[in-house]
Symmetry: C2
Subunit: 503 residues, 2 copies
């Protein structure tokens, strides 16, 4: 058996190899959603399945367990913030998770996801929940089994949440979401009561796609995205995919009648991209050089999309540029533009929701998911629960399942536990930005001049470069001196929307 240092060295080599190998899957996925011809999909499934299977094999090699045991029993872990201790902590987590899941369950989840996705696409199109129901039932069953295989103490949903947001507990997230929901509901009620609407001609008009493409790329470049180490392409569902260091790819989609979904989609994905471009290249292929969690990742995308991209200061800089690109914006005032970029109204579709109401869409899904996983809600009753919860939280009547419980892809892919990270990201973003401002000073005059680098440098130093040194909770405590809270986000929304709606 090797000594602790040799064991650690071998674990490093294996980690880097697994990382390069896993990145094959990233390229397969990116290509599948951008350029792959449609008849290539059967072979693509074979490629993805092979890479997934071999990745799982590499991740569960018993040799890893032996090496971990040796290294963990040494002084390598004395300083829990050292590179070695951080890597060992995260390798242990990954190894335990991977080895806890029986191969049969992994395969059943993968097989069912594949089918469920196809069924979901058709069911959504046809507004046919009955067609999707058996797959949702199977998914819930398999995810309950998965949670039990992974293990949990307080409640079953914890095990799934932990997959996407390590160490997060359902009870704690509920405690964050409860006041958030209450305060948001009040804010939104007051907004709705004003009846105030964006000036016509901004949100909908003629926005030539070719011009949007250039404008979006320039906007991403302006906030710091490096196009020598990345790309921007077109897809149906925007995403950010990292193929490797120096290769971070964004996608967005263009609507010739509205430039803003493409712009904010680009800023959002560029926020993810900036995080990945900012990871420490010296530690690539190891946890020390990887992002913290989905919630922290989302904090970066939401920060650039919403906190920066919808600010008045941002538009002070960008409006003249947007007016040069899109003649239809000539004569529109800064006030009108900022209001349009922040218009808030309860709506049916999560991905089209504004910055404030968005969080209630997440809280709805979080509540339903917990009830499904804990067995308190039957899949057959999801459409009804969706409708009543939408009414309760947003005051909206859901006309059909297509625009209700069939709108999201996540459940077809077994991603129970994923949704809450979106709202956690909003909370982290606000709390981080408050802290950044308290350290750097007022950022708005900088944004108004197109200077986004001071904020990016702060994020790089405090969040991107340290990688997984700290998990999300400790990172938040370390950076802001406080645990995560709903208050910074509410302060931000109350201030911005309060001013725009004269509340």
């Amino acid at each position: 058996m090797p000594d602790a240092r040799s064991a650690y060295a071998e674990l490093l080599t294996r980690s880097k190899k697994r990382s390069v190998f896993g990145s094959l899957g990233s390229l397969l996925g990116w290509d599948q959603r951008t350029y792959m011809p449609k008849a290539g999909s059967a072979h693509r499934s074979d490629q993805l399945a092979l890479v997934a299977g071999m990745s799982h094999e590499m991740a569960t090699d018993p040799r890893i367990g032996e090496l971990l045991a040796i290294a963990e029993a040494s002084d390598l872990v004395n300083d829990p913030l050292s590179d070695a201790a951080v890597n060992l902590r995260e390798w242990r987590r990954g190894y335990d998770q991977a080895t806890k899941l029986p191969q049969a369950l992994v395969e059943a989840l993968s097989r069912t996801s594949s089918k469920a996705y196809d069924v979901w696409v058709e069911a959504r199109k046809a507004n046919d929940f009955a067609a999707f129901r058996p797959f949702l039932e199977e998914m819930v069953k398999l995810c309950r089994e998965k949670a039990d295989a992974l293990g949990w103490k307080e409640q079953r949903y914890d095990a799934l949440l932990d997959l996407y947001e390590p160490d997060a507990k359902t009870r704690e997230v509920q405690a964050l979401f409860e006041p958030l929901q209450r305060e948001l509901a009040g804010l939104i009620r007051r907004i709705v009561a004003t009846g105030k609407r964006a000036e016509p001609g901004i949100l909908e008009n003629d926005y030539p796609v070719a011009v949007q493409e250039t404008f979006c790329a320039e906007s991403a470049r302006a906030i710091g995205f490096d196009f020598d180490a990345g790309r921007l392409d077109v897809t149906t569902h925007p995403f950010c995919s990292t193929i490797g260091p120096g290769d971070v790819r964004l996608t967005t989609r263009y609507d010739p009648r509205c430039a803003w979904s493409a712009l904010y989609g680009t800023l959002h994905e560029a926020g993810h991209g900036l995080y990945n471009q900012g990871l420490d290249p010296e530690h690539r292929g190891t946890p020390r050089g990887a992002s913290v969690s989905l919630g922290i990742h989302e904090s970066q995308s939401r920060m650039w999309e919403n906190l920066v991209g919808r600010s008045r200061a941002f538009w002070q800089f960008f409006l003249p540029r947007a007016q040069a690109a899109f003649p239809v914006l000539k004569g529109k005032s800064l006030d009108a533009m900022v209001f349009a970029a922040n218009e808030s109204k309860p709506s049916l579709i999560r991905v089209e929701a504004d910055e404030a109401t968005y969080n209630l869409h997440i809280i709805l899904r979080f509540r339903l998911e917990i009830d499904l996983i804990e067995g308190r809600l039957q899949p057959a009753d999801v459409p009804g629960a969706w409708k009543s919860t939408m009414k309760e939280l947003l005051g909206v009547d859901v006309p059909d399942d297509r625009r209700g419980c069939l709108q999201d892809v996540h459940w077809s892919g077994a991603s129970f536990g994923y949704f809450p990270t979106y709202a956690l990201g909003n909370l982290y973003a606000s709390q981080f930005l408050e802290q950044a401002k308290s350290e750097i000073g007022d950022l708005d005059p900088m944004f108004a001049k197109g200077e986004f680098r001071p904020l990016l440098d702060w994020l790089r130093l405090k969040i991107h470069r340290p990688g997984k040194t700290r998990r999300a909770g400790p990172l938040c405590q370390h950076l802001t001196g406080k645990p995560l809270s709903h208050q910074p986000l509410m302060r931000h929304l109350n201030a911005k929307l309060g001013a725009l709606y004269n509340l």
Copy 2:
């Protein structure tokens, strides 16, 4: 130990897995040359090296040798044209090849290629043969070792040629090229003596790139390329890459002053693409469902590019379409267009050479390669040998090495043995097309109406669908009743160029 049928079944499974795994490398390579951002190249090298290393591991697993021995000793090989016998024959070839090469040599070749490529790129730019010379020397040395490791009987070059054109012998290729060179030289001398030139305004004019893109894609579609199962993108060096069944990707490059290099590049790559789209999907991932050899592959690309795409009948159909796309062609006659598409003149650069002189560029490289590998020519003497052979074969003075012996990428990548397959492709193409016409009837009236399907169907049936059932030589004998000969190509060139130049 398994019985013969179980052994064969396991070999099938392994073959399909290796094929899917290898196709990861195809996507990596395609992406590297189309969309990868430049800072992604270091990670891309890591990905490619990992896939290559793991592929080699899979291909040399001793278990394959054991299984082969069992299956080969059974009645599975009784009928040499049966699927099982074909697969076993080719697996044996691949396994023996892979296991004969020492790991150290494989790694040295890969390491040196990587460096040599970078050096070659710079050396070509700077017209600096001295910089490339040590790498050429190392490459020749390693390729001689490789040939010796693979084994040969008559001469060392046979072992390298066999890698690209299985069973081909240097002596036989020399016997084909000798009369080809003699007859071509005579034809080209007579052409040069006419002094006849293409009508101005066709070869060079304004050809907007966006229009070229549409025109090239429509041309590929017209000859049968399926865009539901493929793509056409832009690169510096056109190629065809098959990611998998249903996913065949072509690339070309556009010159705004000349539409024809993009068009013929597209037709050439589409010829490769049609072959790959025509392979039997039932046998995918096995030799029975794979292409025969580089020479046979090239016969398909050259057939569509030259024999079809430069024919008068092709232009009867395409000229009105080209005139609709490119206003500068209005008023140009069919005669003028056909002449321009076939203009023949000795030139310096292989990839820009016309259909007739092209073969002499290949013969030059073939002669130099043999002499290098057999030790009769020193790398230091290559520039001189290049110049004197160009003078001898094409009557051309080579002004510098950039346009001489530094023009091609092949030697930097250890691809000694590859060049002759280009000219073999021309020979096979002509012999196959003569046969197709003798079976189907006169194809020209069909081409003139845009009916390319009868030819494609013949190629599908006779060449694409049978996969590797027969190797190149036996396939040619089987289809045409004769061994490969230079005569069909010379008959074709003498007839076409004789008419165009009034010889």
